[in-house]
């Protein structure tokens, strides 16, 4: 069966080669670059140094990292609070409407995210639609300054990333057996107790997956803070971008990128660990 073998090796070989060349090696190069220095001629040069990592923990950078983590955490929380009831409603909608409702959720999220961010400017502007509406209805007396603040970045990131939270939550809630909730209520659990002790643990997988799908991109996305946040809201993504494109300090930028990769790896490990422990509990 020579042809069998060659088709098998062809498909495996090609895919593995591609991922090694375009995913694994580049990561190793970035890791390597983070230990190098900059020079006048090139972007990267010897000697090897830990200076980039030391600089990363300077107070200014630490501030940027802290602010980014805080904002990404905030976005994740807002998405979770907005998304959980929404996913619940979708998953409990009449069966024949469900795919239509999901499609409606997905359509805007396939429209160029830059274009959508750009549309938000027209809404959040001092003389934009939101302020015009609020002034006209008399809810506020003076226009709110939202655009070019941290709040605008929060709105923009929430807007872009919300579907990433809703989709995994939806599939977790859809799998939830309503009988278990009824049983809990019959046994005298209050609404709140049912939610905390039945719904939350059983949809935990979806919650964690959704939070990761929001938190990680929120950390790295540089164009939304750029467009909505103005010059002052420097975040980790923008910082890395600037080190590469403006400051031309590639080793330092690489170190920041490695830092981001480490955060991602830790979260993925946590996720994988949770998954195996839940599975073991299921078996027990």
């Amino acid at each position: 069966m020579k042809t069998d073998c060659s088709f098998r090796s062809f498909s495996i070989g090609l895919v593995v080669a591609w991922l090694v060349i375009f995913a694994v090696i580049p990561q190793i190069l970035v890791l390597g670059a983070s230990f190098l220095s900059t020079s006048e001629q090139g972007f990267l040069s010897l000697p090897l140094t830990l200076e980039n990592y030391r600089q990363l923990f300077d107070s200014v950078i630490l501030g940027i990292v802290g602010r980014s983590l805080g904002l990404a955490g905030m976005v994740t929380l807002v998405c979770l609070i907005l998304g959980y009831p929404f996913a619940w409603i979708l998953a409990r909608a009449p069966r024949n409407y469900r795919s239509l409702l999901l499609l409606l959720l997905v359509i805007p999220f396939w429209t160029n995210s830059l274009i959508r961010t750009y549309a938000l400017i027209a809404i959040l502007n001092t003389r934009g639609l939101l302020n015009t509406f609020l002034l006209a209805t008399g809810i506020i007396q003076t226009p709110l300054r939202i655009l070019y603040t941290q709040g605008a970045v929060l709105i923009g990131l929430t807007y872009t990333l919300l579907p990433f939270m809703v989709l995994p939550l939806y599939s977790a809630i859809e799998k939830l057996d309503p009988g278990l909730r009824e049983a809990a209520r019959d046994l005298g659990a209050s609404r709140w107790a049912t939610f905390v002790r039945v719904d939350l643990p059983l949809t935990q997988g979806g919650i964690i997956a959704g939070c990761m799908l929001v938190f990680l991109p929120a950390l790295g996305m540089f164009y939304i803070p750029d467009i909505l946040g103005g010059a002052r809201s420097l975040l980790l993504g923008n910082f890395i971008r600037d080190q590469f494109m403006i400051a031309r300090n590639w080793p330092f930028g690489s170190a920041a990128s490695v830092f981001l990769t480490v955060i991602m790896t830790l979260l993925l490990c946590l996720y994988a660990w949770r998954k195996t422990t839940t599975r073991q509990e299921d078996r027990a």
Binding site: M1, T3, D4, F7, R8, S11, I12, V15, W18, L19, I21, F22, A23, I25, P26, Q27, L29, V30, A33, P85, F86, L90, S99, L103, L104, L105, V106, I107, P108, W110, T111, N112, L114, I115, R116, Y118, A119, A122, I123, N125, R127, L129, Y159, L162, M212, L216, G220, M221, D226, I227, G237, I240, R241, F244, W250, S257, L260, T261, M264, L268
Partner: protein, 256 residues
């Protein structure tokens, strides 16, 4: 009453998601150039767009890259799904882990690492680097789409084909491929939109000689926006709005 609250809540979320798109559409027909107020209906921006060679060039570049990278990524991604589903080989778990990590990882990490790779290999930035990057971006999404379809299969069909003497390639060509075709096409459309949408990876991996639409819009937004960009956005939105339901329909159709 409870149903009403639920419907109202869902409506508010949908409004939040769709309002910016509606606003954009409306502004593309607004005669006023600077103010946000409505000054009457016009299609002037669409006409102006057609004469804006730079923007149109960038749009053509974007569509070219999206088509090429979607096709190649679909090819590779389908092979990857097949390999993960059918074959047992050392490193299979690592390969499948790699696919999921690529989906999860922030785009900026991929963009930067590819930029460093191209620099080290001394490949000039432009069409080719952009193409390679977009294939890498899209590949895991195709793999996951096709893989989930493969896992729904009745394995007996494949066994039967084997018993009837089908070799591995014939099996792929005549049995597996026709069965996964809807999800392969859905994967292609997904790649197409991912590639059209990508800002971050393109930002790092394209050169000044090859401008694509998202980056062109990005630089325009920062320098002050021209109304023809609104018109262009509406057209691009139209393209994706056609592509996505088609993909959804393809995925749904096969389930019967």
């Amino acid at each position: 009453m409870k149903t009403f609250i639920k419907a109202a809540y869902a409506a508010v979320i949908y409004l939040f998601l769709y309002f910016p798109l509606v606003v954009l559409g409306a502004y593309s027909f607004n005669a006023s150039r600077y103010s946000l107020g409505w000054k009457g209906f016009t299609t002037a921006w669409y006409a102006k767009l057609m004469n804006n060679a730079q923007l149109m060039d960038a749009a053509v570049h974007s569509l070219t890259i999206a088509c090429c990278s979607a096709t190649l990524a679909t090819f590779l991604g389908t092979l990857a799904a097949l390999a993960l589903h059918r074959y047992r080989f050392p490193g299979r778990k690592i390969l499948s882990g790699c696919v999921y990590v690529l989906i999860m990882s922030p785009d900026i990490i991929m963009g930067i690492s590819l930029l460093v790779l191209y620099l080290v290999l001394a490949i000039p930035l432009g069409f080719w680097t952009l193409l390679l990057s977009h294939i890498t971006l899209c590949l895991p999404f195709v793999t996951v789409t096709v893989l989930s379809r493969l896992q729904e299969f009745d394995p007996h069909v494949i066994e039967a084909a084997r018993d009837l003497g089908a070799r591995e390639f014939a099996l792929f060509r005549h049995v597996i491929l026709p069965m996964v075709m809807p999800s392969v096409m859905a994967g292609w459309l997904l790649c197409f939109t991912l590639s059209l949408d990508d800002v971050m990876i393109s930002f790092f991996t394209t050169g000044p000689g090859y401008e694509i639409l998202p980056l062109k819009i990005y630089s325009m937004v920062r320098l002050g926006v021209k109304p023809e960009v609104n018109a262009l956005c509406v057209i691009m939105m139209g393209i994706t709005l056609l592509a996505v339901p088609t993909a959804q329909w393809l995925v749904k159709d096969k389930k019967r």
